[in-house]
């Protein structure tokens, strides 16, 4: 399995000279099985470049959305395969209590927020509510589960053969916990991440920043390190970098993180590729 990061930024695209090394595009991850089958995780602004890189030969594309906050869907209308006549794009995401994903997504892919409606796209677009049970998609097995973040939000665990990756880009497992981490049984996201080869996880804040942002749905670096150790992951890549953190700030944050981590960890960088 190969994993490539096309967007690592959280909340807001942050292009500029101060964000060149970690990248300014919002959440988008490419996952490839050994046979070349493709899953795309989230459709932040990073998906535009991924779409351009795919070329015209790609068959079915599956996009797994964790939730419908703008930084995770804002690139969808710029994903080239959606406008090719022969393509087939499947989008998966969390329903709300009263609305399915298609109707929720349609609120963005329609005027006045976007000029093109879902029904006017050139490709065949199939929208699915995220699976409630482990579900095969090509050579992958996809598991989804709700995690702590405002609004319906899911994390994913993706397996192919003996390899696995967990993707929890927006996650606040420490919310309300008297002590964190608690037991595995009482920790949001634990079963998705347990024992995976690679965990891609929200690490938006420093410990100090988190104190004034409790309930905003994100983790401090300390929380993600504790979570990764609790889940016994093989490797951690931090993700969803705060738009206010420039490259130098992220360098400093990650140096302290790497020194303290009980699991192999590296900061997520746009353009990074990993082989599992």
């Amino acid at each position: 399995m190969k994993v490539a990061l096309w967007g690592t930024r959280g909340s807001l695209p942050s292009a500029g000279p101060d964000t060149v090394r970690y990248g300014g595009n919002t959440a988008c991850v490419e996952v490839r099985a050994d046979d070349g089958s493709l899953l795309v995780l989230d459709a932040g602004s990073g998906i535009r470049r991924l779409g351009g890189a795919l070329g015209a030969v790609e068959g079915r594309v599956d996009i797994l959305l964790t939730h419908l906050h703008m930084d995770h869907i804002q690139g969808l209308g710029f994903f080239a395969p959606l406008f090719r006549g022969s393509g087939e794009v499947h989008v998966w995401g969390p329903p709300s209590i009263k609305a399915d994903v298609r109707s929720r997504l349609g609120r963005y892919l329609s005027p006045p927020l976007f000029p093109v409606r879902v029904r006017d796209l050139g490709s065949r677009l199939v929208v699915h509510d995220a699976p409630e049970r482990p579900t095969p998609i090509g050579p992958f097995v996809v598991e989804a589960a709700l995690v702590v973040h405002p609004g319906p939000t899911i994390g994913y665990r993706i397996s192919a053969g003996s390899r696995s990756v967990a993707y929890l880009p927006d996650h606040e497992p420490a919310l309300g916990a008297r002590a964190f981490p608690a037991s595995r049984r009482w920790t949001s996201g634990h079963d998705l991440a347990a024992g995976v080869d690679l965990l891609i996880h929200d690490a938006q804040y420093t410990a100090g920043e988190y104190e004034s942002r409790v309930g905003w749905g994100h983790s401090s670096v300390d929380h993600v390190l504790a979570f990764a150790e609790l889940a016994s992951v093989g490797r951690l890549v931090t993700f969803h970098h705060d738009p206010g953190h420039d490259d130098d700030a992220l360098d400093a944050l990650h140096q302290t993180m790497i020194a303290r981590s009980g699991v192999p960890v590296e900061p997520g960088r746009e353009g990074m590729s990993l082989t599992l």
Binding site: P94, P95, W186
Partner: protein, 137 residues
Amino acid sequence: MSDHQDTPAGQLPIELILLRQVASYLDLPVFLIDAEGRLVYFNEPAEPLLGLRFDEVGELSMVDWLAAFRPADVDGDALATDHVPLVVALREARASHARLTISGLDGVRRAIATTSIPIRGQGGLLLGAVALFWSAP
């Protein structure tokens, strides 16, 4: 009294995790069961009415917590399992309210009132039930 060694290993649904977090901050007794009826948590204000700290009790199957707390009506007659409000909430997926007596794990019988509510999550999935209760002598 503890069956910690029998606690299932799997993570609980996020709705139950968040309910526990909220309950841990409330000054109102709260008793939480999962979809199988297993007691998974009661909060600190519940401890004086139940006669022990949760950490001393641990998780209990429905059979075990019904046997431990021995719910009875206000006249002292044992309640049939299907009439216990928390069981009604789980099995019939509806809210249920009653006054009853329970035997605390300290051996003291106490009168309480309780309202029990089913917990439904995404897709209408029944994930458990929660009892709010209070002393009602």
